[in-house]
Amino acid sequence: MAVVELRFSALPEHVRTARLVAAAVARRAGVDEAVLDEVRLAVGEACSRAVGLHQISGITAPVKVALIEEEKQFSIEVGDEAPHAAPGGTPGAAQDGEAEIEEDEMGLAVISGLVDDVEVTTGQDGGRIRMTWPTTPPTAALV
């Protein structure tokens, strides 16, 4: 397993950097060229969501992105440190942030529409989106 990790301050201008790095590592890992656009978009959505959550909650900690190359698969984990309501949570907790929540949901809708293998976990200490794509074995790619 090989890992590239990226940590960036929760600022919108850095999301593009995360997209570029993720796409470069995904390409190297053997993710199909035709899927790279989806990788770029999905990681951008996950990072935009994390940036938004940090900004709304006033969290100064960076957003974390892990790009994980494993046998036959490539995964991206985007982690935030925003406290999420427990599943089934507290209604009316963030009425002011309605617009942000709508955008947040749209981002998640795009991710789940794009990526077949996606896992969203949330807790009091933050949330994580893990997205996985199959890869072509490097030996086959070289032939």
Binding site: V15, S48, E102, M106, A109, V110, G113
Partner: protein, 113 residues
């Protein structure tokens, strides 16, 4: 950065040509442009997306916001896009049913319904 915007009036339509990447960083500039156009009385907009390399949900949100604004004045917002990777985002979010999407600016400018 990496977002270019230009506008042109064609008959009663205002064509907004967008180029580059529309994401969480650049989308506010597009929002400002659309708000300004509507505030100046331009209620029939055609957004030409042929020069757009990247579009995410923040960009979709801005376009939906623009549509809401022009509709408040009985206006219209039409898109021009032939790029499969951009069209795909409209499809998976169901927004192809919300926006009229045309294959050329000429077509969008002449469209009436």
């Amino acid at each position: 950065m990496d977002l270019s915007l230009s506008t042109e009036t064609v008959g009663d339509r205002t064509v907004v040509r967008v180029g580059g990447e529309i994401d969480v960083y650049t989308a506010p500039k597009l929002r400002e442009q659309l708000v300004e156009l509507v505030n100046d009385g331009n209620f029939h907009l055609v957004v030409d997306m042929e020069g757009v390399d990247f579009l995410d949900s923040t960009g979709l949100g801005v376009l939906v916001g623009g549509l809401k604004r022009v509709r408040a004045h009985e206006g219209s917002l039409r898109l021009v896009c032939n790029q499969e990777r951009i069209l795909k985002i409209f499809r998976i979010t169901g927004l192809t049913k919300v926006f009229p999407i045309h294959t050329s600016v000429e077509d969008a400018v002449q469209a009436t319904d």
